[in-house]
Subunit: 453 residues, 2 copies
């Protein structure tokens, strides 16, 4: 029979109590209704996908449990299998290069949405936009110094896509001419402008292609009205741009999706009459579909807001909440950690790419140079979102096909109103995507050099 | 000096050990990155607003902390002050009557969104819609029996608003006639159809008002193409409807926003070629902006999907996640608890309203009767979303003004292509709104009766 040593038992028991008491004092706050969904989210996030994928709460399931969704060119239940014959996909401007930042800032960027959160169509004062989010957006522009938001109206949109269409509608409506307004952009341009202009076959406006073709006509103060889309920095080539057309009959929509310190130097705050921004390219949350426009003229603002109302009755309130929490994280240190991370990542990608491409005369890249950036208060090296690659040899007029033969998919130059000697390659995707792209480009260039030798 | 009673100390300490151990075993799972945002959400949700408002995570703040946002006609820091001279606002179809259900089901309906959740434009297979959510939507239709989704394509939209526009675009594009397509709806109709048809001044289609005016023309198989919007049950009057126009030149868009057991009997599953639904009226989450369309024809589906892509590049992935979690809650018990709650609430509201209105000959309501409902497997009493109130006296041709004089704001009949003898009153809002509306209507009817006596 075991005999207990009573004098020793008591100190041991007391010690245990102290231990328990200490863990009790330092325990986390007990949650009630939010505990279950927080646990679920953590369990799903903890599913191991070898760093080449994620499991999502609303992801594909196997026996009711979410499973890994692998990055392109990875496969297997834990995404550990590399698919060697897979194309390097550089088509979409999918800003996944920012994902590691948000994983690292998981605690501050998570959002718990209660089941009854903002069920109504409206928020206080019959508004469909969050006043708090508006405040943070304006603060972000002040901190970054990329746009003057003071004295301007703001409209939220379902991504910048909706706002581009809204702006087109609003500016065309303000024309008093019975003739349709000419809509232009200087090539190479973002193809959505053309698609949106044409989709409803409107009597109010017509797509007229490259802005430079209309330069003389607009300057002559003709009765013809123009709307010019200006993307600055430009998609695809990253150049800071201004409107080409001038005169009283010209209205301009500035798409500043990429006017942020990760992509471009910020020489001075933009102060145009109509400027459009998107969360997709600031925080990298393209899937959330959130954008905003800063508008000087009240009538144009009213019409844009009216369009968004008729089109979708505003933007998801869930997304507005999420956007707010993300901007709060960025603004915690005046954006330093975030923009540093974004800029360094893209700068390194561009350097690596430039090194490869400049070693061959068969290919070239857009010409970008360093410029003083008021945000970083130092020279800003090129860190564009896209490579605007040119196949220089005459016979390589179908540059898309040249790259495809080398296992790379980009977007054809003709998709931007330019020659097919050009291809746009996205530099914004995950590091898996970028590594494969670089490997294939290295192989291509090396093969070309080897042939020449 | 106190002397310890050693023989008693040990059992007491052991008892404490057991107590701590038990609480340790039954403690909540320790959370890591999600704890902070879960705590924040619970703290904000716990702010007391007297049952007449809520504090929201992205709400108006005072010294950095969210404060109560009060229901209409309530004020004060805790929303406890009733504003007696405030209008009873019955304008919007704001489905806040479902809010208490979601508060009661807080645990299962909360969603934790990690900072890196679905940043990409696309989900697996380059899709912009969640396959899991699609599965639950199809399951919901099977369980409720309100629509045949099998063999139909699905498109998600930013609310049904976007999908109505998408359907208009897609059906008009499929017309081969050089003439614009005539767009109609039978009065009283939802005004958005007119607004969306006219907004872009399209060469492809024209708004032509009340469908009944065109009945003969379409039946003669004229070369003229028609698109008819059919809302069933109808907004504003709750009637189950079918298309008025017939013939090969007519295409129909069925808006089934209200074809759910809380608003209507479900006599049989709808099986039209193009049907549109919205989360706003199913779960009550109007602020989330989520809808879906079931489409039979592949070409129409492709065009609608193409429109959504060009318009907004799909629907917020945050909202898709939230919609999924909400539908999961509803489907837990085959929708019983949820639809029972919704139906009972609206049925009681309608009974109460009918009792008041039928006591006066100066006012009348739309005629609704009980009907067998395949979902509840019993007779379904009227429980419409809106009262379509008529001011019967000739001199009360401006019924809106009559109600406004009595402290009630509705929506004018002319906003639905009908006479201003009618006003639409929303029965979907919070119980605060409904109580005030009923009180004002009681006063109005009583005053009229008193005058007559």
């Amino acid at each position: 029979m075991v005999r207990f040593n009573y004098p020793l038992c008591l100190p041991f028991s007391l010690f245990l109590n102290l231990l328990f008491l200490s863990s009790f004092i330092h325990r986390q706050l007990q949650l009630s209704w939010s505990q279950k969904s927080a646990e679920e989210a953590e369990q799903v996030a903890a599913i191991p996908c070898s760093g080449h994928g994620h499991a999502y709460l609303d992801g594909v399931t196997d026996q009711g449990k979410p499973i890994c969704e692998c990055n392109s060119c990875y496969s297997g239940s834990d995404c550990s299998e590399f698919l060697p014959h897979c194309f390097a996909d550089a088509v979409e401007g999918d800003p996944l290069y920012l994902e590691p930042f948000w994983i690292e800032h998981a605690t501050s960027s998570a959002v718990m949405v209660p089941g009854w959160h903002r069920m109504s169509y409206t928020m206080p004062n019959q508004s469909i936009i969050s006043a708090e989010l508006e405040k943070y957006i304006r603060r972000l522009h002040v901190v970054v110094g990329n746009a003057i938001s003071e004295g301007k109206f703001i409209v939220f949109g379902v991504g910048s896509s909706q706002l581009l269409h809204a702006a087109l509608y609003a500016l065309a409506k303000s024309s008093r001419s019975p003739e349709p307004t000419n809509v232009v952009a200087s090539a190479p341009y973002y193809m959505l402008y053309k698609d949106q202009t044409e989709i409803f076959n409107s009597k109010d406006f017509e797509w007229k292609g490259d802005a430079s073709l209309w330069k003389n006509m607009s300057n002559n103060n003709s009765s013809k009205n123009f709307i010019e889309f200006v993307t600055s920095p430009n998609n695809p080539d990253g150049q800071l741009q201004h409107s080409i057309l001038q005169g009283s009959s010209v209205k301009t929509i500035y798409d500043h999706a990429y006017y942020w310190p990760h992509y471009s130097a910020i020489p001075a705050p933009a102060n145009e009459d109509l400027m459009i921004f998107t969360l997709s390219k600031v925080t990298g949350h393209a899937g959330s579909r959130f954008g905003w426009a800063l508008i000087k003229d009240e009538d144009v603002y009213q019409r844009m807001a009216g369009y968004v109302d008729i089109n979708t009755m505003g933007v998801s309130r869930d997304t507005q909440l999420r956007a707010l929490e993300l901007l709060k994280v960025i603004l915690e240190d005046g954006g330093r950690a975030f923009f540093d991370f974004g800029y360094k990542t893209l700068k390194q990608r561009w350097r690596r790419l430039s090194q490869t491409i400049t070693s061959s005369k068969h290919f070239s890249l857009q010409n970008l140079s360093s410029q003083y950036c008021t945000y970083f208060q130092t020279d800003h090296e090129p860190s564009p979102a896209y490579a605007w690659l040119k196949c220089e040899r005459e016979e390589d007029w179908d540059c898309y096909a040249v790259l495809k033969n080398a296992g790379i998919i980009g977007r054809r130059g003709s998709n931007f109103g330019a020659e097919d000697h050009y291809v746009r390659l996205s530099l914004l995707k995950s590091s898996d995507d970028l590594n494969l792209l670089m490997q294939r480009l290295d192989d291509l260039v090396f093969k070309v050099i080897a042939k020449v030798i």
